[in-house]
């Protein structure tokens, strides 16, 4: 008994009734008078120089009010991690001279109706000069590979002078030399979409006092405000974000992508502007979960103790960094998984390729690593003809163990969840395994 009255009780979720009866108001329920619609003309090439952009036919389209290009954006670089000191900024709001992935925005067409905005966007004529593109993370890192992003200068994000985020703990080479078995396997994932019910978008409404009220489904109101103000070059207090009700985020609404260009459109037209992704944009243009390639090499003793783990991780960041440098560091911190392994070596590469930039998604840096780590554990158990749960229990980390990133573990309970899961499915564990505890050494 905890003695709590409200904590620990199954209070009904406050938005549940509104959601299931269709009464919850989302940003798209707003319909301010004079609303304009913004749609993007996007790159049809993976990597190309923009030799010319002809908007003359688009401008003649009935209902088209204005077309924005890079020249219209005050500070035409996104600033995703600037405020926590991570640079360089590497991605234009509207393409400037070069496109680096298929789907990259080139022109923003503002029109009286959604249909006119689409029609105008389709009539933008872009003259491309194709450049060599690279799609595979290991090919991108090879000498002579085409450079994806000149702002980054290399096809990898540079961590304080290093070409990857590193973990160095103990001596894995010695562990391999002394091991009874060495196992090395490789894992791969593909980009995954957040698939929210409500797509990413915003409505910007100019106010009488010159401020902009931004109705958004962002996951982070002040983060959106700060980044948008930096791009607009306006004082922060010129903007107001109204949000808080979101039809699914999963990390896909952390990048600040739709608000800055919509604000520019609202400022230049003096009218409310709506920019919301359609489902195709949400799936093909909005940043997905990164594809990852993971190679794990383990030193294992015959009793099942893992004495060394070496991990090489390639995170496919796509054409721009977004939040991937952060996610790659988070991935490094997660290694070698919830196990006390005395020797750990990891190189975690954040790699640029000519594809849709990836970014945050639920379990950022961890989800795909867990697929690899836990497949690896199963394979080791099979190779040693051991019970897969006993192998995990033998290696489980406990309170006080020093993790590979040199922080003492606390609040551990891996052993307990394994014991509970075993009990749930009637998987018998010998007494010594049932008696183990995370908080006793």
């Amino acid at each position: 008994m905890t003695g709590y009255k409200v904590i620990g009780s199954a209070v009904q979720r406050s938005d549940a009734l509104g959601h299931v009866t269709g009464r919850t108001e989302f940003f798209e329920d707003l319909n301010p008078p004079g609303l304009l619609h913004l749609k993007m003309a996007r790159s049809e090439r993976h990597h190309a120089r923009l030799a010319g952009i002809d908007t003359s036919e688009a401008e003649k389209t009935k209902g088209v009010v204005r077309i924005l290009t890079a020249d219209d954006i005050p500070n035409n670089l996104f600033t995703p991690l600037k405020l926590i000191g991570v640079e360089p900024d590497d991605e234009p709001i509207l393409a400037e001279g070069t496109v680096r992935y298929r789907g990259e925005p080139i022109c923003a067409v503002i029109a009286e109706t959604e249909a006119a905005a689409y029609e105008g966007a389709a009539k933008v004529v872009v003259d491309y000069e194709d450049l060599p593109a690279v799609f595979d993370v290991e090919e991108a890192l090879r000498e002579g590979a085409p450079i994806v992003n000149e702002h980054q200068r290399t096809n990898f994000f540079t961590y304080e002078g290093h070409h990857c985020r590193r973990i160095r703990f103990g001596d894995v080479e010695q562990a391999f030399a002394q091991a009874d078995h060495v196992f090395e396997w490789r894992y791969q994932s593909a980009p995954i979409e957040h698939a929210p019910t409500e797509t990413t978008g915003c409505i910007v409404v100019p106010q009488a006092d010159g401020r902009l009220r931004i109705h958004s489904d962002t996951q982070a109101c002040f983060f959106t405000l700060d980044n948008t103000a930096l791009i607009l070059g306006t004082p922060f207090n010129k903007l107001r974000i109204v949000g808080g009700t979101v039809g699914g985020g999963f990390g896909g609404k952390v990048d600040v992508v739709v608000e800055p260009v919509s604000c520019v459109a609202a400022m230049l037209t003096g009218r409310p502007v709506k920019f919301v992704y359609n489902r195709r944009e949400e799936m093909q243009v909005s940043s997905p979960r990164a594809a990852e390639r993971i190679i794990i090499k383990d030193a294992v003793m015959s009793g099942g103790r893992i004495t060394g783990r070496q991990v090489t991780l390639y995170v496919d960041s796509g054409a721009y960094a977004r939040h991937s440098p952060y996610g790659t560091t988070k991935a490094a911190a997660h290694l070698p998984g919830p196990y006390a392994i005395p020797n750990v070596w990891a190189d975690c590469h954040c790699v640029f390729t000519n594809r849709t930039p990836s970014s945050a998604m639920r379990g950022f840096g961890v989800t795909i690593a867990d697929f690899a780590l836990e497949s690896q554990m199963d394979r080791i158990a099979r190779a040693l003809d051991m019970d897969p749960l006993q192998l995990r229990l033998i290696n489980a980390y406990r309170d006080g163990d020093l993790t590979a990133h040199r922080k003492p573990a606390e609040g551990t309970a891996l052993i307990e969840v394994i014991q509970k899961a075993a009990e749930m499915v009637g998987h018998d564990l010998p007494a010594e395994f049932q008696e183990m505890s995370s908080w006793q050494s």
Partner: protein, 335 residues
């Protein structure tokens, strides 16, 4: 041709709180003259229930009914700063900020009640019904609605409080990776039971057994909702989803839900979920948070169950019928 059944395991940990810290959130709380406490935030509820759990935190600290708490959030003109809803930080950061704000407001509430009842504040208690009463003399009490009116019109006091939570930013030692990345580690073990059709390569997930340890479960029903919803998402990641199905080729990108498939009602596994509680010292009432982690363990559990069922070791996500069938054929030597 047969349907082959197998069972697979996966156990994981998950770091809650923004990686490396430096991500503050604030909360302000005040009582209106109705005795309703408004919690002002700029945090976003993605549908996971943040507004509900932080209202529970405020009600618990104030010792008032849940219905006496209103959450007013996500307007940057009126709500104090929040870094955002991501990185399994909402419950942990915002919960802690709300507890701090509510504790300050509770102190004022008891001080005003003490004036009103002419007793010492230390002799007062709350019981969750809306009354502030003298310990041991429960008939000597005042309801929060009357107290809020008296505070405003008679005592000239605001019943209010301020809260913030900040985990200081940690920097990474670039040579070794030494860092302080997380606030808590939550844990899970998932057991998946699958059936593999060796003619079609289709994998069906029959059962998922989920054991989770997430510190304190502030709202057990919403925890279970996260566990089961996340298990569905993990199953979907494992078997169905990719925006570039032949990665690294850019071809065949789906554009809508008829091309980007996810499990429908008939695909959903039976789920059995158990929550263990090991409260964390730095969490709100010991909660660690369970925002993101629930999609993780199901993926390798399903991969390992596929191996158990048919001997195919899936190394590439998603585990589509095409991939499973090609590997099955290779195993049988019939390619």
């Amino acid at each position: 041709m047969a349907k082959l059944k197998g069972r697979g395991y996966a156990s994981v940990n998950y770091p809650t709180g923004m990686n490396l810290g430096g991500d503050p959130s604030q909360a302000l709380i005040h009582s209106t003259t109705t005795g309703t406490f408004v919690v002002s935030l700029s945090s976003v509820d993605l549908g996971q229930g943040l507004k509900t759990v932080v209202a529970q935190c405020a009600a618990e600290v104030l010792g008032l009914p849940f219905e006496n708490i209103l959450i007013d959030t996500a307007d940057t003109d009126t709500g104090p700063h929040c870094m955002g809803t991501f990185a399994s930080r909402g419950t942990h950061r915002v919960g802690n900020a709300v507890i701090m704000a509510a504790a300050e407001a509770r102190e004022v509430m008891l001080a005003v009640a003490a004036d009103e009842l002419e007793v010492d504040p230390g002799d007062l208690e709350t019981d969750g019904t809306g009354f502030i009463a003298v310990k041991g003399a429960e008939e000597k009490r005042i309801h929060i609605t009357d107290l809020a009116l008296a505070a405003h019109f008679k005592h000239g006091r605001t019943i209010s409080g301020r809260g913030i939570f900040l985990k200081e930013q940690s920097t990474v030692v670039p040579e070794t990776g030494e860092m302080d990345p997380d606030s808590c580690q939550a844990h899970a073990c998932t057991v998946a039971v699958v059936e593999v059709d060796d003619e079609t390569g289709v994998v069906e997930v029959l059962e998922m057994h989920n054991a989770y340890e997430i510190g304190r479960a502030l709202n057990p029903a919403m925890v279970t909702q996260q566990v089961e919803g996340g298990a569905w998402m993990g199953m979907s990641h494992a078997l169905f989803e990719a925006t570039e199905p032949y990665y690294p080729a850019r071809d065949h990108g789906p554009a809508d839900f008829t091309e980007y498939l996810m499990p429908g009602p008939a695909d959903i596994a039976r789920q059995y979920s158990v929550i263990l509680e090991r409260p964390a010292d730095n969490g709100p009432f010991g909660a660690k948070g369970i925002g993101e982690m629930t999609a993780n363990a199901p993926i390798p559990a399903i991969a390992n169950a596929i191996f158990d069922a048919c001997g195919v070791r899936v190394e590439t996500m998603p585990f589509t019928p095409e991939r499973v069938l090609r590997d099955l054929d290779a195993l049988k030597g019939t390619t």
